[in-house]
C-alpha cells in the first residue's frame, strides 16, 4: 500500500535540484557576521561540503546536514537516497561518519507507514555506512522532507578539502551525470525503464567505497558533485585551489537516456541557475552539443565524488574506483592546469 502514494507529487522541485541558487545564497551569506575560531578548519566561507572543527591535534570533527523533498515515489528509496546524499559530504572531506540524526518533515494526511518506510531507508543506509542512528527531529507540514545531520571523525591530516588541487593533477569523477534531467523525465513519465533503474542505482550508491579506496593514493582535493552541478562544484574546487580545470566533455560519463531527455527539455530550473551563476568563468568549446552543455550544469542528487589526484596515481586510482563501485561509472574526466582567464575550460 505504501507504493500507491506518489511522493514526488508533494514537491515542486526534487532533490538537490531544489537547492537555493548559489548566487542568491552567496549574497545572503556575505551579510552575516564573520566567525573566527582557530579550530575551525573549514567553515562556510570556503564553499566546501561540510564544516571541519579540529578538536584535538589528532582529531577533526566533521559536521554536515542535508535534506530535501522527495526525488522518488517509493518512500523506502527516498529514505535511502536522502541518507546517501547526506553521508556523502562526510566522505568528500576524507572522514568516516560516526553518528546520524534524522531530519523529518511529514504531512499529517499521509499514512504513518510511509514515514516508517522513509526512516527504514535512512536507517539501512546509515547501517551500510557503519555509523549509528542517534536520534532526530520531526515536524508536521504539507511538504514531506527527509535527510540527515551527520557527524564524522578524521585525523586532521586526513581531511580533504576542495582547495588542494595542483597543476598537472588528474580529475576523477566517481559517478555518471544526468540525475536531475533523468529524475525530471521520470516525474514526467517520459523516462525509459533502463534510465529509471540506473538513476536509482546512482543515487543509492554510497560514496563510502570510493572514499576509502582513494586513501591509498595521493589525493590533493575532493568534493562531491551535487546541486550546483559538475561545473559549479568543479569551479569551486578550481577557485579554492587557485588553478584552472580542463575537462573533456566526451570523457564525462552519463546516465543512459540523459542526452535524449535533455534534448527534450526535461531540464530542472537549477541547471539554468547554475549556468548563470558560473557565467564566463566556465568556458565551453564551440563543439559541445546543447544537451551536453545542459548536462554539465545539471543539478545532481546524491552525485559522485570529484577527486584531484597526482597524475602518477591516476590510472591505478581509476582501476581501484571501478573495482570498488561496479554500480557506477568512475572515469578520468580532465586535468588541473595553471590558472588561466577562466577557472573551468571544457573541450569537446
Amino acid at each position: 500500500m505504501t507504493q500507491t502514494v506518489c511522493l514526488t507529487k508533494y514537491s515542486k522541485n526534487c532533490g538537490c535540484a531544489a537547492k537555493i541558487g548559489p548566487g542568491t545564497l552567496n549574497n545572503l551569506l556575505e551579510k552575516l557576521p564573520e566567525f573566527h575560531d582557530e579550530h575551525l578548519m573549514v567553515g562556510f566561507d570556503k564553499s566546501d561540503d561540510a564544516a571541519v572543527y579540529v578538536a584535538r591535534d589528532d582529531l577533526a570533527v566533521i559536521q554536515t546536514l542535508d535534506f530535501f523533498t522527495p526525488v522518488v515515489d517509493d518512500p523506502y528509496l527516498f529514505g535511502r537516497v536522502a541518507a546517501t546524499n547526506a553521508l556523502s559530504d562526510v566522505y568528500a572531506m576524507g572522514a568516516r561518519p560516526a553518528t546520524a540524526l534524522n531530519i523529518v518533515v511529514f504531512p499529517k494526511d499521509l499514512p504513518a507507514e510511509i514515514l516508517g518506510e522513509i526512516l527504514r531507508g535512512g536507517a539501512d543506509t546509515v547501517l551500510e555506512a557503519g555509523a549509528v542512528m542517534a536520534g532526530g527531529h520531526s515536524i508536521q507540514d504539507d511538504t514531506p522532507m527527509y535527510g540527515l545531520s551527520v557527524t564524522g571523525f578524521a585525523h586532521p591530516k586526513e581531511i580533504l578539502t576542495n582547495a588542494g588541487a595542483l597543476e598537472g593533477d588528474v580529475l576523477l569523477l566517481t559517478k555518471q551525470l544526468g540525475v536531475g534531467v533523468v529524475n525530471t523525465a521520470v516525474k514526467g513519465n517520459m523516462a525509459g525503464e533502463e534510465a529509471r533503474k540506473e538513476v536509482l542505482r546512482v543515487m543509492c550508491s554510497l560514496n563510502k567505497n570510493s572514499a576509502e579506496c582513494m586513501k591509498a593514493f595521493e589525493v590533493h582535493a575532493c568534493t562531491d558533485v551535487t546541486g550546483f552541478s559538475l561545473m559549479g562544484h568543479a569551479r569551486e574546487m578550481a577557485l579554492a585551489s587557485g588553478v584552472s580545470l580542463r575537462i573533456q566533455a566526451h570523457a564525462v560519463p552519463l546516465i543512459e537516456g540523459a542526452p535524449e531527455y535533455a534534448r527534450m527539455g526535461l531540464i530542472p530550473g537549477g541547471a539554468y541557475r547554475n549556468r548563470e551563476f558560473c557565467g564566463e568563468d566556465v568556458v565551453l568549446s564551440q563543439g559541445i552539443s546543447e544537451e551536453m552543455n545542459d548536462l554539465l550544469f545539471d543539478p545532481q542528487t546524491s552525485g559522485g565524488l570529484l577527486f584531484a589526484v597526482a597524475s602518477k596515481d591516476a590510472e591505478a586510482a581509476l582501476s581501484a574506483l571501478q573495482a570498488a563501485n561496479p554500480d557506477t561509472k568512475a572515469s578520468i574526466i580532465g586535468r588541473a592546469e595553471a590558472l588561466g582567464d577562466a577557472h573551468i575550460y571544457v573541450d569537446d
Binding site: N13, A185, G269
Partner: protein, 68 residues
C-alpha cells in the same frame, strides 16, 4: 487558437501538457509559462517533436506558440 496554461506549474508539467496538446492534434496552440527557463524547455520539447514554434512574452508571462 487553443491555449495551454501552465503558469505557476513546475517542470516537467508544462512539457507534459505540451505533449498532450500535440497528441490531441490540437493544431496550432500557445503554451504559457511563468519562468524564462520553462519557455526554453518548451521550445526544446517542441523541437524534439519536429515542431516549429514562435516564442514571445505576454502580460509578464512567457509564451511558445507551437505551429501545427
Amino acid at each position: 487558437m487553443k491555449e495551454v496554461d501552465a503558469r505557476g506549474l513546475s517542470c516537467p508539467e508544462p512539457l507534459m501538457m505540451t505533449d498532450e496538446a500535440i497528441k490531441e492534434g490540437a493544431g496550432e496552440f500557445t503554451v504559457l509559462v511563468t519562468e524564462p527557463f520553462q519557455r526554453t524547455n518548451v521550445e526544446k520539447f517542441a523541437r524534439s517533436k519536429g515542431k516549429t514554434f514562435t516564442s514571445g512574452e505576454k502580460d509578464g508571462y512567457y509564451t511558445v506558440t507551437v505551429h501545427a
